[in-house]
């Protein structure tokens, strides 16, 4: 360094100059700020502050908010969220609001429906699954068939109040093989151990893949009186005939267990079917509905199952008015085969040609199955109607959109009145300019 230079030789002066050079641009920038810039900065600061506060509160709230489990029950985390391990498949499900104050348990379960039982899941026995499924389908017991022995029940089951289903359980034949238990990922929820967690039986919550049906009163789904009546012997016979191909198919493709199920207990069959989601589709032929077979045949011939879908629905039950507005779209085309998946029906011959089974299905089961099929249809209709835009058109679409808008607009502001709107659209200066009379006059000139 040149020490003879009066500036460079003086380190203090040099440092002061450097400091000035560093500060000056910033100071100049600061001076350029308008009141509006400052206001924006202030607003940003306040927002950040509010966001930081909100985040803290959110963390606190999250501990209070219950976590919905797949079975429809709600698990509450309190104080120490990590204490309750959430099953993997339940992660990411948005929390439900509000926990009641004064709860002392770390994890509490809110009963999603009518309370049936409570049991601990510290070591859930595999058979529990069968039992739970059974509760979903409260099908009338088959009085014609008597089971001599009881399936060994686990201690948990003993704790439960007895329901008609449980009574049946007590008469099951011990020699019967245990119904197959699926180890698919969807069903693994019951096997997950959640320390300190009390679990309710699963709610009757329909999912997209596995429609679950409430055992609603028959009248709700069956307007036609003849369906709700006791089937005549001829009718029963026809139903059995239709049932036969399915049984055969199953025998050919499914395990021995299922064979036994078909020949022994229709109720158990229901349970097994439910435990394996894909077999829900088989439920359609279980009904042995004549019209379904006919339509499926026509549908296959035409090669456009969706175009025949409305016919199917029209024949099974009176279609609701919304059906008139349904368009044939990829959604419907995708959904319809779900309803009309009659893979297990022999569609080549007539209905009577393929009657193999000599079994006579109990009337209760037929009724219950018809009820469930109608429930399936109703559920499917709901799905179709509620699919926005694609399946609703014309006035119905307008009404639907208006309804949704009304619903959205009527939603209360939950967290104050700030930042409640989406705020996606921003009016630009150019846009604003183009709407001014002054601007248009200038343009005209």
């Amino acid at each position: 360094m040149d020490t003879t230079n009066p500036i460079l030789g003086n380190p203090l002066l040099l440092a002061a100059i450097l400091l000035l050079l560093a500060i000056l641009p910033r100071a100049l920038r600061q001076n350029k700020k308008t009141a509006l810039d400052k206001a924006v900065e202030r607003f940003e600061r306040e927002e950040m502050k509010a966001a930081a506060e909100g985040k803290t509160n959110e963390d606190k709230d999250r501990q209070k908010k219950p976590i919905p489990l797949k079975d429809g029950s709600l698990a509450y985390l309190k104080e120490n969220p990590s204490a309750a391990q959430i099953p993997e498949e339940n992660k990411g499900i948005p929390p439900f609001p509000v926990q009641e104050e004064g709860e002392k348990e770390r994890v509490k379960v809110v009963k999603p429906g009518v309370p049936i039982s409570h049991f601990e899941t510290a070591e859930p026995p595999p058979k529990k699954k069968v039992k739970l499924i059974k509760q979903e389908f409260s099908i009338a017991p088959d009085k014609n068939k008597t089971r001599s022995k009881k399936i060994p029940s686990d201690p948990v089951e003993k704790e439960q109040p007895k329901s008609p289903t449980n009574e049946q359980e007590s008469t099951w034949n011990e020699d019967l093989p245990v119904p197959p238990i699926s180890n698919t990922e969807e069903d693994s929820w019951i096997e997950a151990e959640i320390p300190g967690l009390t679990i309710e039986p699963p709610a009757e919550e329909p999912s997209e893949d596995i429609p679950v049906f409430n055992a609603s009163p028959k009248e709700e789904y069956l307007p036609e009186p003849e369906k709700s009546q006791e089937p005549s012997p001829e009718k029963q016979s026809a139903e059995v005939k239709n049932m036969a191909p399915k049984t055969e198919e199953k025998k050919g493709s499914k395990s021995e267990k299922q064979e036994i199920i078909m020949t022994d207990s229709p109720q158990l069959e229901m349970e097994i079917q439910e435990s394996e989601p894909k077999e829900v589709e088989i439920k359609a032929p279980v009904v042995s509905h004549k019209n379904i077979a006919e339509i499926e045949t026509v549908s296959e011939e035409a090669g456009t199952p969706s175009s025949k879908a409305s016919e199917t629905e029209g024949e099974i039950t009176a279609a609701p008015p919304e059906q008139e507005n349904l368009k044939t779209t990829p959604e419907t085309a995708k959904l319809k085969p779900f309803l009309l998946d009659l893979r297990y029906l022999d569609q080549e011959g007539s209905e009577t040609e393929n009657l193999i089974s000599q079994e006579v299905l109990p009337a209760d089961m037929v009724d219950a199955t018809i009820t469930r099929l109608n429930a399936l249809q109703a559920d499917l209709e709901n799905q179709l109607v509620s699919t926005p835009g694609n399946v609703v058109s014309g006035d119905a679409l307008v009404n639907e959109n208006m309804r949704k808008k009304r619903t959205r607009d009527s939603l209360p502001d939950l967290e104050g009145t700030i930042n409640t709107s989406s705020g996606k659209k921003e009016v630009s200066l150019e846009e604003l300019d183009s709407f001014l009379f002054t601007a248009s006059q200038k343009k005209n000139k």
Binding site: G416, L436, Q441
Partner: protein, 328 residues
């Protein structure tokens, strides 16, 4: 302080943007800082400012002032009503009698004269919506003009129209004696000219063409007119930027420098205060909207004000006079 500088006129083209709420709380803030303030409800025909102060039925208002019939022995002094807030007096409007807003020019001048004569440090005038000459003339009485707008596009557009009408009215009043200029400026008398004088540059061109010696005065008027802007009911940052759009448009078409004074956030505190008929600044001077108003007053008076509440009393914890800013 001259009468011109002590009058703060709060207006805006659109109704329902919160002019009265902003004005009332501005007046309260100024009063709490120890200055004598008169709050005037100049929304003739639809007076409601008294409700924001919790005055259920003003005994006197401008209606009594016009005919003097209802005033007691105190005369015009009786018009100034107590508000229960130190240093703050209230002058009620003309009620809600149909036709009250259509006061004669004589009465209007009378009102303006009376307001100018009031002995106070600050007189805040809360105007009604619209851009008619009554409103604009009251607005132009103020030495400081505050335009209140909400961030919505329509509100910004109306605010622009309000600023434009105010500017043109100022020029028109300046050249009352010049009929040809009146034709140019007062477009209500000559709509055909509207196409020619839609913006300030075109007006300047016409003035220069007809009376070049008067152009400088026109430019002076334009320079002197520096309204302040308060954006009310702000919910997000872009709402404040809508105010920036108004500033830019005003500069572009009117060559007017609009000063951004601040904003008020959308808050339940404000709504609650209206329902409770108690200014939110009295309820909680440290709430967000109260802080916003203090910012506005700070910009307006070049001060840094900070109010706090303790034991049901409000104190000024900080009041620093700034060396520079708007409204010197």
């Amino acid at each position: 302080m001259t009468f011109k500088n002590k009058i703060i006129a709060v207006g805006g083209g659109k109704g329902g943007v919160g002019k009265s709420v902003v004005c009332a709380n501005m007046a309260v803030t100024l009063a709490l800082t120890g200055q004598r303030v008169v709050l005037v409800d100049a929304d003739f025909g639809a007076s409601s400012l008294h409700a924001l102060l919790g005055i259920s039925s003003p005994k006197y208002g401008f209606r009594e002032y016009f005919d003097h019939s209802g005033l007691d022995s105190n005369g015009e002094e009786a018009l100034l009503l107590d508000t229960g807030i130190n240093n703050l007096k209230f002058l009620s409007g003309a009620g809600d009698m149909p036709g009250s807003a259509d006061i004669s020019v004589k009465n209007q001048n009378k009102v303006i004269s009376y307001i100018k004569s009031l002995d106070a440090d600050h007189i805040l005038m809360d105007l009604g919506p619209g851009t008619n000459f009554h409103i604009i003339d009251y607005f132009n009485v103020g030495g400081k003009n505050v335009v209140v707008s909400t961030p919505e596009m329509t509100s910004i557009m109306k605010s622009f129209s309000f600023i434009k009408a105010t500017l043109f009215r100022r020029i028109s009043q300046e050249f009352k004696s010049s009929s040809d200029l009146q034709h140019l400026i007062d477009l209500s008398k000559n709509p055909a000219m509207a196409e020619d004088c839609y913006e300030i540059d075109s007006l300047r061109e016409k003035v220069e063409e007809m009376h070049p010696q008067k152009l400088e005065r026109v430019n002076e008027i334009i320079r002197e007119f520096q309204p302040g802007l308060v954006i009310n009911r702000v919910r997000r940052q872009k709402d404040i930027l809508m105010g920036d759009n108004l500033l830019k448009l005003s500069k572009k078409y009117l060559d007017v420098d609009v000063k951004f004074l601040g904003y008020l956030i959308e808050s339940d505190d404000v709504r609650d205060s209206i329902d409770e008929m108690k200014p939110f600044l009295i309820k909680d001077p440290q709430s967000k909207p109260s802080e916003n108003i203090q910012q506005v007053i700070g910009s307006l008076t070049n001060t840094n004000i900070h109010l706090v509440k303790k034991d049901d009393s409000i104190y000024v914890s900080q009041q620093i006079k700034l060396s520079s800013g708007w409204g010197q």
